[in-house]
Amino acid sequence: MTHAAATVDQMRPPYPAERGLDVYNTKLGMWVFLASEVMFFAALIGTYVILRFGAPGEWARPGVVLNIKITAFNTFLLICSSVSMVKAYAAIQDGDPKKMRFWLLMTILGGAMFVGIQVYEYLHLVERGFLPSGVREGSELAELVAKGTLPAATMGLYGSTFFTMTGFHGFHVTCGVISMAYLYVTKALPGKYTKQDYRGIETVGLYWHFVDLVWIILFTIVYLI
């Protein structure tokens, strides 16, 4: 706790209590919630690993179905939004709400752009014939399967795991953007965050970094290898 003396009053339980973990409830609650999120993504990612290693044949080579360049840019965008989140957090710790609002807005924009690009990616993939159930008959990708560029046996698993994992990650990003926008309008604009109490910023920041971290793992295992 680097921000000791001045912040103690607001960031503790508001009544006499036995010494707990010395963090305020929302922050502790978010850490606990993130533990359950780890288990959720572990179930999805674990499933992907097991299905891919046990697949009846080759997995599709990276870059044939998925556009790595666009998604690499998207990854960069999400990492930048994590940086801007930290900037917002540092600004309010220094007692500069104006700077905090600017960086929070940048984070919201970064997250929204990430979701926008992901929606564009999905639409493009579906148009080319990539579906959660596999490859659509008569599509561009079906021709690649027929030519042998893509393995017929595992395209169903590829579609299932790709859309489920990235879809649920996108859902989490969307929830984060909505939460941050809500905090921006109801708390940041009316100036409710101060040097003494910035619980919402710190808590949503924890969530945001988690979502970012999950994406770095997903980008690596789904797009790159």
Partner: protein, 588 residues
């Protein structure tokens, strides 16, 4: 009696001006949410019981029209005769309702919500609104599951464990909407449990009353805390699995679809990775509440408090590495099976520690056989039987023989009905005065206890014998097999016992509802107990305490030589007690 006067004064001072809707429906008060969970999950307990009665009719009198079965549609029971495809729905939905909508919410939804803030001494949960969402998410899940009984091609029919590919492919199971609604409902339940768990964990860590150190927590709170950790980490896995199952059903993905490269066994691993911690979610809170009740009924401190806590933690930890024992016959590598066998057998150690500690607590106690105590003693006895039969099936070679037989059915009912449900009857009777301000009838409670205890054993004990004889579980008509025909009289005996067991619950039901209005008004501390909840009036007011009490000792100081009464409440300050340190100044 100065404490009584003081709390009565502060409680009256707490003005409650919420509207009816905010007070009783969309309430954020942990006690109201607990009571909402109680009513809804008791309803589902009855639903699950009715489904079981229909199964028992078919098993005892196969092919004969069920009394009252004429009201069921042609697709279920034409002329009252249960169809095989309806029977498998009964099996599936009985298990589903009992596990996810009766026992689990009764233990965790009701008692984690009701007891945690009262027993640790705080005004409410850390996140009251999230708590409200937890209840409504559970309620939505329950409605969806209930609705699935009435859809055209029937409810889910792959067993409560929903083994793929039967559950994943409509052309295998013959049900589409029912299967999908099952998955949707389970996702709601998962969300509800996660929201509840994060609340319980945060509240217990950060919001304990001054002086309520970790090792002064009642064992009920300890077990609910550990259960919350299990729920927090296990339910997301089930939710993830249910989402993938739902996608297999509606988006034609191939997670559990072997022809397209999916793995049916993967479902079993995901399900039981959740499922075994779930088993402890269903028993640990019962153990905790039984510990509280047994110490109270024995008028002695609990025997081996610390070892009880460490046993809870050990059981919970081991619960993560034993899920493979549900899958011994699924074709797993025998070496892997051996490691699952060893880890499973080790769980007998902390379980035995708890059992001996309960007996040590009762030994030479000044026993009070009130209704909760009777149920608590029955819990210990039945848990021993269920635990010992669990050791049978933990051993791989034995399990090969008894797997998927009625031996398993006997075992799981000995721990879930004989264990959890007896503990729940005890807990409901015990904390009823603090919930509703009235006592349940003691004589009728005893009648209900003895009838339940007798018919329960008549129902489930013979199932061990059927299982050893090779009768398969989930089977529509065992009498079609020659080797099972001699056991038909036993099946009739079981069914008649089961009908009587169900009828005995009517006594509890009437006692519960009658006491709500006509029960004896409860004093503040009807059981002479030490917990902080008994420092409040009955029923406990909104916001609990105006100023939370300080805690000076552990919860099991019965028959203390320091005071004249045979109990010494946690908040009672003796001249020798020092005021505990607090972390922040009171704000109101």
């Amino acid at each position: 009696m100065t404490t009584v006067a003081a709390t009565a004064h502060t409680a009256a001072a707490h003005h409650d001006d919420r509207s009816f809707v905010r007070k009783y429906i969309f309430s954020t008060d942990h006690k109201i949410i607990g009571i909402q969970f109680l009513f809804v999950s008791l309803f589902f307990l009855v639903v699950g019981g009715l489904l079981a009665m229909q199964m028992r009719w078919q098993l005892a009198f196969p092919g004969q029209p069920m009394p009252g079965g004429g009201i069921l549609p042609e697709t279920m029971a034409p002329g009252g005769v249960i169809l095989p495809e309806y029977y498998i729905q009964l099996v599936t939905m009985h298990g589903t309702f009992m596990v996810f909508f009766a026992i689990m919410p009764l233990l965790v939804g009701v008692y984690a919500n009701f007891l945690i803030p009262l027993k640790i001494g705080t005004h409410d949960m850390a996140f009251p609104r999230i708590n409200m969402w937890s209840f409504w998410s559970f309620f939505a899940g329950g409605l969806v599951m209930l609705a699935s009984l009435f859809v055209p091609d029937g409810a889910a029919r792959a067993g409560w464990t929903m083994y793929a590919p039967l559950s994943a492919r409509h052309d295998y199971s013959g049900a589409s909407l029912g299967q999908e609604l099952w998955s949707v409902s389970i996702i709601f339940v998962g969300l509800s449990s996660i929201l509840g768990s994060l609340n319980y964990i945060t509240t217990i860590i950060n919001n304990r009353a001054p002086g309520m150190t970790w090792f002064r927590l009642p064992l009920s709170v300890w077990s609910l805390f550990v259960t919350a950790i299990l729920g927090l980490l296990a339910l997301p896995v089930l939710s993830g699995a249910a989402i993938m199952l739902l996608f297999d059903q509606i988006l034609q993905t191939h997670f559990f679809d072997p022809p397209a490269g999916g793995q049916a066994l993967l479902w079993q691993h995901l399900f039981w990775f959740f499922g075994h911690p779930e088993v402890y979610i269903l028993i640990l809170p019962a153990m905790g509440m039984v510990s509280d009740i047994i110490a109270n009924g024995s008028r002695k401190p609990i025997f081996g408090y610390h070892s009880m806590v460490f046993a809870i933690v050990a059981i919970a930890f081991l619960g993560w590495i034993v899920w493979g024992h549900h899958m011994f016959v699924s074709g797993m590598n025998p070496t892997l099976g051996s490691s699952f066998m060893v880890s499973t057998l080790i769980i007998a150690v902390p379980s035995a520690v708890k059992t001996f500690n309960w007996m040590g607590t009762m030994w030479r106690g000044n026993l009070r056989f009130h209704v909760p105590m009777l149920h608590a003693i029955a819990f210990v006895a039945m848990f021993v039987i269920g635990g010992l039969s669990g050791i049978f099936m933990a051993a791989t070679p034995v399990d090969m023989f008894i797997h998927d037989t009625y031996f398993i059915v006997a075992h799981l009912h000995y721990v879930l009905f004989g264990g959890s449900l007896f503990a729940l009857f005890g807990a409901i009777t015990y904390w009823y005065p603090k919930m509703f301000g009235r006592l349940m009838s003691e004589p009728w409670g005893k009648v209900h206890f003895w009838l339940t205890f007798i018919f329960y054993n008549c129902t489930f004990f013979p199932m061990h014998i059927l299982g050893m004889a090779g009768e398969m579980r989930r089977i529509y008509d065992p009498s079609q097999y020659t080797f099972l025909q001699p056991y038909q009289p036993m099946r009739v005996f079981i069914s008649i016992s089961a009908f009587l067991l169900f009828a005995s619950q009517l006594i509890f039901f009437v006692n519960f509802w009658w006491s709500l209005w006509k029960g004896k008004p409860a004093p503040q501390n009807p059981w002479d107990d030490n917990g902080l909840e008994w420092s409040l009036p009955s029923p406990a007011p909104h916001g609990n305490w105006d100023r939370v009490p300080s805690v000076y000792r552990g919860p099991y100081e019965f028959s203390s030589p320091q005071v004249a009464e045979d109990y010494l409440p946690q908040h009672k300050k003796l001249p020798t007690d020092r005021e505990p340190a607090v972390t922040s100044a009171p704000s109101h």
